[in-house]
């Protein structure tokens, strides 16, 4: 039996009856996917022709599976072609059929057979507060990350949780959640942030690694510049309205109906770097600003604690530290913004949302 990992991508496609013309189409769409200029297609064709499918191990820690959901919605390339043509996805406990001991054996086998060469993809943050907060097959997230990272050629932290801590890290960070780069410091790490990241950005980064065998150019947060190089604001089709001072003040006023800028409604586009304005969502159908809602800034560090989704960026976010302290003292996980509205709300919140610890959950009812 031929080892498909040893075969080049060009050989695999030819074996599947794909013509050279079909291969050039493949290269054209891949260049578009990676945000490369069309003039790069011949270079890309040369690189892809020789590329070999890397082994990929995907670990999911404290996450909501939204990042995997996003990946499965990728249409260019589709998840199927990604798995069968681009990469060898050897472990992903949500997508794979095997579970428990068999799944862990697959991970260990992939690590052993591809030592020093496999690509490690991580979604979810890692709890440092108590290893019991998140485990897989009895192995703590911290232990699994450390042992799997050891033999990885590079790590891709997918989603805001893996890249920056994300929602689990939001104040008051009850699990002590941290990002991958807070733990692993001796491997190249690329952050593909977003909550979730755009599907084609995830696959685009994997395709880039496959094609060129190295990570793309990164920004100060270790995000690929091709996708995170410009702000949402700079690529927004509503930007001309901002420049003219034309804003929607409510979600149903005349300005909103005319498609004016959503800055006053809390749009975080000016401080958010992502590719939503051009890549869009749901197979290129639309994106938040096009649907009439401001950007939440979900690809930026600590966006959950940035002072309210509906506050304009120019409005001070208030004494967050005091509110946070109150929330912590009251044992609320709802966060500072909700708790700090007024005394009545606070009192009701305290009554309705008592703190629940692991010990409480384990008590017999």
């Amino acid at each position: 039996m031929t080892d498909r990992k040893a075969e080049t991508l060009g050989a695999i496609l030819r074996k599947n009856g794909v013509s050279r013309r079909g291969f050039l189409k493949f290269c054209t769409t891949t260049a578009s996917l990676m945000a490369l200029p069309p003039s790069w297609v011949p270079t890309l064709a040369l690189a892809l022709e020789q590329a070999r499918r890397p082994s990929v191990i995907w670990l999911s820690f404290q996450e909501c599976t939204g990042c995997t959901e996003s990946l499965t919605r990728s249409h260019s390339p589709s998840l199927e072609s990604l798995i069968f043509d681009y990469i060898s996805l050897d472990y992903h406990h949500t997508l794979q059929v095997a579970s428990g001991t068999a799944a862990e054996a697959a991970r260990e086998q992939a690590m052993h057979e591809n030592a020093g060469k496999y690509l490690l993809v991580v979604d979810g943050s890692i709890p440092l507060g108590n290893p019991g907060y998140s485990t897989i097959a009895g192995i703590s997230n911290l232990q699994m990350l450390k042992e799997t990272a050891k033999g990885a050629a590079a790590i891709v932290a997918v989603g805001n949780c893996a890249a920056f801590g994300g929602l689990p890290k939001a104040n008051p960070n009850p699990t002590g959640a941290v990002s991958v780069s807070d733990i692993i410091t001796d491997k190249p790490i690329i952050n593909v942030s977003g909550c979730p990241p755009i599907p084609v950005v995830i696959t685009g980064v994997l395709a880039h690694y496959l094609t060129f065998g190295k990570l793309p150019e990164l920004d100060q947060y270790n995000r690929p510049k091709v996708f995170f190089g410009t702000s949402i604001h700079d690529r927004c089709y509503r930007r001309p309205f901002y420049d003219k001072g034309l804003f929607a003040s409510t979600f149903d006023d005349e300005g909103a109906k005319k498609g004016w800028c959503l800055y006053k409604l809390g749009c975080k586009g000016p401080m958010t770097y992502n590719a939503c304005a051009t890549a869009k969502w749901n197979q290129g159908t639309s994106w938040p600003v096009e649907s009439g809602h401001g950007c939440l800034g979900c690809s930026e560090p600590d966006f959950w604690d940035a002072g309210g989704f509906y506050n304009a960026l120019s409005i001070p976010i208030g004494d967050v530290s005091r509110n946070t302290a109150y929330a912590g003292a009251a044992g609320l996980v709802l966060g500072a913004a909700a708790a700090g509205l007024n005394r009545k709300t606070k009192a009701e919140a305290v009554r309705n949302h008592g703190k629940v610890s692991i010990d409480d959950l384990e008590k017999p009812s």
Binding site: V18, S19, R20, R21, G22, L24, K25, F26, T28, T29, A31, S32, L33, A35, P37, P38, S39, H75, S76, P77, S78, R235, C236, Y237, R238, P240, F241, L246, K257, K258, G259, W260, A277, T278, A279, Q283, G284, S286, E290
Partner: protein, 144 residues
């Protein structure tokens, strides 16, 4: 009469477009400049529309403006692709779809013939080998 008809919802017949800023016009100027380069210097240009931030309806406005010309070709490789010349000769719209008929790339090519339409040397060689093999004695017997 449906009970829903009692809900007082006002749906405007059309949103005013007077204040909207479109990318159609600047793109058309870019295409004109590229067509001029093709005409004077023979230089081809490809515009990848995935990289353009389009407001709702803008992409369709651009494609409607460019219209349909004399040539239309379909490519059946890794899904369908439609390559059509616009009413401005030398300006082509190339739309690639995947096996699920979902669009994976949309480009405007300003060139005499889009490269994807040309037969590739590897495919020509492969076709030659197949034709040579098929013209074996057995096949010839079938034909005569």
């Amino acid at each position: 009469m449906s009970i829903l008809d009692n809900i007082p919802v006002h749906i405007p017949s059309s949103v005013s477009t007077a204040d909207r800023a479109y990318n159609t016009l600047p793109l058309l100027h870019e295409i004109r400049h590229a067509l001029e380069r093709l005409s004077r210097e023979g230089e081809s240009t490809i515009l990848d529309l995935r990289a353009i931030p389009f407001p709702p309806g803008d992409e369709q406005r651009l494609l409607d403006y460019l219209g349909t010309g004399e040539v239309e070709a379909q490519l059946h490789a890794l899904g369908n692709s439609l390559i059509r010349e616009t009413r401005y000769s030398g300006v082509w719209v190339v739309e690639h779809k995947n096996g699920d008929d979902e669009r994976v790339a949309l480009q405007i090519e300003i060139t005499s013939v889009p490269a994807i339409l040309r037969a590739q040397p590897e495919d020509i060689e492969e076709g030659l080998n197949r034709l040579t093999a098929s013209l074996s004695a057995d096949v010839k017997e079938d034909l005569v």
